[in-house]
């Protein structure tokens, strides 16, 4: 029997290997929620296949009292419920770790490891003995391993029971079977192993101010609160759940109380070209409108994005990134669309983009996106990814200011039009590079012709060099001026500051912050900046200039953020060093630390 690793409370990672379509997802979610309800920082990552049923799938849970809940590739315990992946799952366990598996079937000798502890429990057998029906038995197996973990990890049993009661409040028989399954696993573990294991949990008080949220729900909520009324989309993983969430929220909050009719219109388009077309049409008419999609969708929307940019029609697009190129790995995460997004479409274009770092920011930035799109009359992208969008994160409770007034931008009402001599669509009257627009139906005076072909500042068709240039030159200034309005970067300076900085974006946040602590422990102190919006503002420029070396941490092959910083700030190239991981799994502190240490060694050498 292998050595136990030294006791670690509220600091471990476990991985559950099952088969998709067998209902393990809800059991795993319950487990994650249990840790949350005990007030302990936790994260759950669903590593699932691009398929509906019958293939291996994993759920990773990391518990960390310090709040480091970025993904870690090092697991202390695995719940091996899928014989297909035993080999892989067992191999991945840290030395001294534990393997909880279904011993109904004997474990192949060859898979046993000297340095890990095997915890056999005949889950299938127990469930066959105690339940009727194939489907039920499979479902109960999931609850049974939860029960075992409750004992092994010292999870508060009442918390778990409480959740079962909430879930099956109205279904007594289901409640009974679930409680039984829980008990079966729990008691078996207690009897056969000395519980709890050295890796265990202890209640904390985090829960009060936080919630469990996934980014797509956060973004959908943002659309709801921003007052978006028209959503158009075409299903695509990992963006689908954004519109599913928006639909659910609208059904709950957007029905006319008297008539039961909808104060929203969700259009499932025939493809992404149609989806963005619908958004442009709705925005042109004055509605706050959006479309959620992923990389392939952005590619298809390229032509329309250029139209909205040039005709100055607002539009909000959510790019929930997945691993590219092409279809790539639809159920894996990546940050590979930065270039595709900010320079989308042919000709000279540049677009505003926001980069949420967690599901809470998906909420806040979604609201921002509508204000910016209408203020600057241009497409605005909210760029998240599969990890942020689809995984459950523990985030600070969301806040909403009832004083919020949507910024509808420079739109002239019929009354405003009365006051003006005559209306010209593309004149820069205020010197802010932003013209006034009118909505269809307002008044005869407000009428103008929107065209993607060459036009002058009066909105008239033109093929003449100067009038054409006047307009596109203003467009360039307009977008650049948004740098001052996009969300400011998150900046953290070490005591006394450092000559080295680390720059990152989006979901890398947690891994980078964790790595910074580790590095600090090794005596490497770095200032930190996380980019939140594009075009980059002055703070980003100053930060890069203030550090001789800036490590740019991101999740793509081609260092797209580093390249954007090169082009869109005044930094010199020699200050930038790239740290990347792009295998499709969320960034981990290990990748960040290793990447930076490699650079440092290289520098010394």
């Amino acid at each position: 029997m292998a050595h136990d690793s030294p006791g670690r409370t509220n600091d471990f990672a476990l991985k559950i290997g099952t088969v998709n379509g067998t209902g393990s997802a809800s059991a795993n979610g319950m487990l994650m929620q249990a840790f949350f309800r005990m007030g302990i920082p936790v994260s759950g990552k669903n590593i699932f296949p691009s398929n509906i049923q019958g293939l291996p799938t994993w759920y990773e849970i990391r518990v960390n009292g310090e709040g480091h809940t970025a993904r870690t590739p090092h697991f202390d315990l695995t719940v091996a419920m899928n014989r297909e992946t035993y080999a892989k799952d067992i191999a991945e366990i840290e030395s001294g770790g534990w393997v909880l598996y279904d011993s109904t079937w004997p474990m192949d000798e060859g898979l046993l490891r000297e340095d890990v502890n095997f915890l056999p429990i005949p889950f299938a057998k127990l469930c066959v003995e105690n339940f009727e029906g194939a489907r039920t038995r499979i479902l109960m197996t999931n609850i049974a391993y939860v029960g075992a973990l409750v004992a092994l990890l010292d999870i508060d049993k009442d918390v778990v029971k409480g959740m079962l009661h909430e879930t099956f409040a109205k279904k007594q028989h289901l409640l009974d079977s679930n409680e039984l399954a829980l008990k079966l696993g729990h008691d078996y573990a207690l009897e056969h192993f000395d519980c709890p294991l050295p890796i265990r949990v202890e209640a904390m008080d985090l829960r009060e101010e936080s919630v469990i949220l996934n980014g797509n729900l956060g973004a959908a909520l943002g659309c709801l609160y921003a007052g978006a009324t028209v959503g158009a989309w075409y299903p695509i993983t990992p963006a689908t759940s954004l519109m599913d969430s928006f639909t659910a929220l609208c059904e709950r909050y957007r029905k006319d109380p008297e008539t039961g009719r909808n104060r929203y219109c969700i259009l499932q388009a025939e493809d992404e070209l149609a989806a963005i077309g619908m958004v442009i049409g709705a925005s042109w008419c004055g509605a706050r409108s959006f479309t959620p999609t992923s990389g392939a969708g952005i590619s298809l929307m390229n032509e329309f994005i250029g139209l909205a940019y040039y005709t100055e029609v607002p539009a909000v697009l959510f790019d929930v990134q997945r691993t590219g190129p092409s279809t790539g790995m639809p159920t894996r995460t990546q940050q590979g669309d930065f270039f595709e997004v900010v320079y989308a479409s042919h000709g000279d274009t540049k677009h505003i983009a926001l980069f949420p770092g967690d599901p809470a920011e998906c909420f806040y930035f979604a609201v921002e996106a509508f204000d910016l799109a209408e203020r600057f009359q241009t497409p605005v992208f909210v760029v998240s990814d599969l990890d942020i969008g689809m995984n459950d994160w523990v985030v600070p409770k969301l806040h909403w200011d009832d004083g919020y007034v949507p910024d509808r931008g420079k739109v002239l009402s019929a009354e405003d039009l009365e006051k003006v001599q005559d209306f010209h669509r593309y004149l820069d009257l205020d010197g802010d590079h932003i013209p006034y627009r009118t909505l269809p139906g307002t008044s005869p005076k407000g009428a103008f012709f929107t065209r993607g072909s060459g036009h002058d500042k009066y909105g008239r068709y033109t093929e003449d060099a100067y009038p054409y240039q006047e307009v596109v030159d203003r467009l360039a200034k307009k977008i650049d001026s948004a740098a001052a309005r996009v969300p400011a970067p998150e900046i953290r300076r070490v005591e006394g500051g450092s000559s080295m900085g680390i720059v990152t974006v989006g979901g890398c946040r947690g891994a980078v912050l964790e790595a910074l602590e580790d590095l600090a422990a090794d005596g490497v102190k770095l200032d930190y900046l996380r980019v939140c919006g594009f075009p980059f503002g002055k703070e980003v420029d100053d930060f890069l200039a203030a550090h001789d070396v800036n490590f740019v941490v991101e999740q793509n092959r081609d260092a797209q953020l580093l390249r954007l910083l090169t082009l869109e700030t005044s930094t010199t190239k020699d200050r930038l060093r790239s740290v990347r991981y792009y295998g499709g799994l969320p960034m981990s502190a290990f990748h960040v630390r290793d990447g930076i240490q490699a650079h440092l060694l290289h520098a010394e050498a």
């Binding site: 028209v230 219109c265 025939e270 049409g281 709705a282 008419c285 139209l307 005869p444 065209r451």
Partner: protein, 351 residues
């Protein structure tokens, strides 16, 4: 030599309609199309139809894709918002616009290239959603603006200017729309304003997607001998299957008397359309019969025209989507945003 300046499409009478607006008030910029282009006649019909229906120009929105045909919204109703979008994608823009503001009157102008090649998918799905709009397909069998390539509506064997025969089976907007469940399907001819105007009026009053396939000859690239989309060919082979008479709501309705051989259809705003068929036993409210007749006629080389099929009592997009009455753009913000308290309540479920 000076450019063939075509006067703004003019009309004899400057008589005002009930809004006190003359046809002139429904005109737009001077056409830049070729002299004699069928599309200019369609523009004239649009102006006539809107004027007769007494629609305030600013309450209408005109949209198009790209092509000579798609340029025409510039040539009518300068007091309406216009959107000359991208090639083949106007239906999606119109769909979104209509979703946001259902109270405007939407007219989309497209061409056979715009609608049947690059835009075929969007046209079919706009039909499927029954988006409330008048969709005018100015069909000349060629890509005019790109100088005369065959389009998908070019008939089998129709000759190009260079004498090349089109080998492909055409996509016929009328049979296509009928098979897809379109609720208003008409065909007309740019050279037959008397027929076109009442159909357009009916289409504008139809509570759903109204498709008019207008044969609109391209004098520059497809009006020669051997073309089946030329003025001569169309005049000679067109066969009015259904005569349409549109009586707006205001006029006292004499439908009863008219009935008998004629089909009387009451539009959702109360206007009445009387359809008199010239073909034995033709029923413009029987989809599959209409389809059969049209196909048979076309098989004989005829070009059946008129309001070929109309369906009432159908639902349009907003009914499918169960949206509130009135434009979504007019719903006040506080009726859209649940507010801070609701957010707290909601979040209690997330812990």
């Amino acid at each position: 030599m000076s450019p063939t300046v075509k006067p703004k499409v003019r009309h004899p009478s400057l008589q005002p309609n009930a809004l006190g607006l003359t046809r002139r008030d429904y005109e737009g910029a001077v056409s830049t199309l070729c002299a004699g282009c069928g599309h200019d006649s369609v523009t004239a019909a649009v102006i006539q139809a809107f004027w007769e229906l007494e629609i305030p120009p600013h309450r209408a929105a005109k949209l198009s894709g790209i092509g000579c045909s798609s340029k025409t919204p510039t040539y009518f109703m300068s007091e309406s918002h216009g959107f000359n979008s991208v090639h083949g994608r106007m239906p999606s823009i119109a769909t979104g616009a209509n979703a946001a503001n259902r109270d405007l009157i939407y007219i989309g102008i497209s061409g056979d290239g715009d609608s049947l090649s690059i835009g075929l998918g969007q046209l079919c799905h706009a039909i499927r959603r029954n988006v409330n709009m008048l969709y005018v397909l100015e069909n000349n069998g060629v890509y005019g603006l790109t100088k005369g390539q065959f389009s998908a509506s070019a008939d089998l064997g129709s000759k190009s200017k260079r004498g090349k025969e089109n080998p492909f089976y055409p996509i016929d907007p009328v049979s296509l729309a009928l098979s897809l469940g379109a609720t208003f399907v008409a065909r007309s001819f740019s050279g037959d304003k008397a027929q076109l105007v009442p159909i357009m009026k009916a289409g504008l009053r139809h509570g759903g997607f109204a498709l008019i396939d207008v044969i609109s000859p391209c004098v520059t690239f497809n009006d020669h001998e051997g073309s089946t989309k030329s003025y001569a060919h169309t005049r000679f082979h067109q066969n009015e299957v259904v005569e349409t008479d549109f009586v707006p709501l205001r006029a006292e309705i004499t439908a009863e008397q008219e009935a008998g051989s004629a089909t009387v259809v009451t539009m959702h705003d109360g206007s009445v359309v009387t359809l008199r068929t010239t073909a034995e036993g033709y029923d413009p409210t029987d989809r599959d019969a209409a389809y059969a007749h049209v196909r048979a006629a076309q098989g004989r080389g005829e070009i059946p025209t008129g309001l070929l099929y109309i369906e009432t009592g159908h639902q349009e997009m907003h009914q499918f989507e169960n949206t509130v009455d009135g434009p979504l753009v007019d719903v006040p913000f506080d009726a859209l945003c649940p507010g801070a308290e609701a957010l707290d309540a909601l979040q209690r479920e997330w812990r």
